[in-house]
Amino acid sequence: MKRRWAGAIVAVVFPLVPWSQSRIDTDVGEFRAQQEVLYLWSGDHVKRLFPGFEGLAADVYWLRTVQYFGGTRLYARDKSFELLRPLIEITTTLDPRLEIAYRYGAVFLSERPPIGAGRPREGIEVLSRGAARNPDSWRLRQELGFFHFLYLHDAHRAAAVLEEASTIPGAAFWLRTFAASLLAQGGDREASRRMWRQMFEQAEAGILKENARLQLRILDARDAADDLTAAVAEFERRHGRRPERLDELVRGGVWRGPLADTAGVPFHYDGQTGRVTVATESPLWRPR
């Protein structure tokens, strides 16, 4: 009798569980960003909690950093990445040799929103600390130099850091010439392209490689927009007026290429100035 009652209660009440869950998911969203709290902000304090297990603790904090970054980027409403820097600091204090945490951490911090936190100075600080703690790593110094140029547009500092990196045993042979060319040219789009291509070729499959690929596509889109601007000028020279729309360039025989960037978004044409730019709605648009 008691069993029958228990069975009846389970049969009646249990369907309430998935039903109420579906209502909660509808109200709050199926993917809820975890309410992230960091109880300990100092890497040194965390280190003292795991005597003998610092490496393992660093792995745990690194996994948490990656999950925090991915979760915040995808699901959080407030994408300020407030905990990103302390998580990276704790991870690298626990394991100062964990190069991947400096490299990925710097990208997570430096990239503009919505991809990253948009705090390149902090990203460069992370790489600087990594380079100081790992004096034999030319890769960390190389990326530090690249970041100075790519995110802070400081060609002189970038060249100095690359020069330093080139003196580390085992460093890539091209670092010294790269530093020299940066100083000679003061930094241009071609230098950016070479840096991103290097990072693309050196990176393992994953976020870093994909980010470098995206940056190369952004540069390609800017090149194509500049070529289109030149084609507009050629059209004006030939016809004595500017085209009203970009497709006139094709009909006028001055352009044979595509009129959209590689993301499929048409380029923006300003008929007043004759200038062509990457459309702001394109994923390849970035402020200059």
């Binding site: 003292r48 003998g52 297990f53 490496g55 660093a58 792995d59 690194w62 990656v66 991947i100 976020i207």
Partner: protein, 258 residues
């Protein structure tokens, strides 16, 4: 001498059987599940760090589980026998207190040896199954960890001869933790400016330095562990274990069980 050794071996074998009967080796099942889950999940979660994390988890688990077994079983080997009064029939047999003490020590060390060996095999199996190389250098870290565990067993048994099992556990854990903070002890003056220098030097010399047995990070990054370093660590462990066992044995032999 020969008979004494055979009696020590008999106690050791019995201690090993006892620990197996107490399901101590069940931690191996947990370890197997941990390694399997780590092997399957880490590739997706870690961004190119799965091999290092697998090694960290494997060696960390060997160290952690081993320490827990060494402390809690080590303490129980003597003090629980005293508290449950099961020691008296043993002492009534033609078996000296020294043989009993050393036999129990050897039995638990053998349990830990089996534990570490099976866990290392599991770690290697996981690395091989996930397409990673089987690196012999990991054995250096496992060996050093085992030496540290032998020292923990000796310390736990020493405390268990002088106090209750609960207090012996607390003291053993305290010494192990203090030994993992040897660098802090050595530089105590920087944290506590008023502390006399001689105190930090004495404490540094007396507290067993468990950092000596930690090569986990080094092997995880592929750094070599020179044989000479391992040899000195072995000498350190042997000397310390001998001293601790001698004190423990003296305490056990002089203790009045009435």
């Amino acid at each position: 001498m020969g008979r004494g050794l055979s009696r020590v071996a008999a106690v050791a074998a019995n201690t090993f059987r006892e620990t197996v009967r107490e399901r101590v080796l069940y931690n191996l099942v947990f370890f197997a599940i941990l390694m399997t889950a780590s092997g399957l999940l880490l590739g997706q979660l870690s961004i190119r760090q799965d091999e290092k994390i697998l090694i960290d988890i494997g060696l960390g688990a060997i160290d952690l589980f081993g320490t827990l077994i060494a402390v809690f079983i080590g303490v129980g080997l003597v003090s629980k026998e005293i508290e449950r009064r099961s020691l008296y029939p043993l002492l009534a047999k033609p078996l000296s207190r020294g043989e009993l003490f050393l036999g129990k020590f050897a039995g638990l060390v053998f349990t830990l040896l089996v534990n570490v060996a099976v866990m290392m095999a599991g770690l290697y199996a996981t690395l091989a199954a996930t397409g990673r190389g089987v690196e012999p250098r990991l054995l250096a870290a496992a060996y050093a960890t085992l030496l540290g565990l032998v020292l923990v067993v000796a310390i736990a048994m020493l405390f268990s001869t002088v106090t209750s099992s609960v207090l012996a556990s607390v003291l053993s854990v305290g010494v192990v933790v203090a030994g993992r903070f040897s660098d802090v002890v050595r530089h105590m003056g920087e944290v506590l400016p008023g502390a006399p220098r001689w105190l930090s030097e004495v404490l540094y010399a007396v507290i067993p330095n468990f950092q000596n047995f930690d090569f986990k990070d080094r092997v995880a990054y592929g750094d070599p562990v020179p044989a000479s370093v391992l040899a000195w660590v072995t000498v350190y462990a042997a000397a310390y274990v001998t001293v601790v066992l001698a004190v423990g044995l003296a305490s056990f032999q002089s203790r009045d069980f009435q």
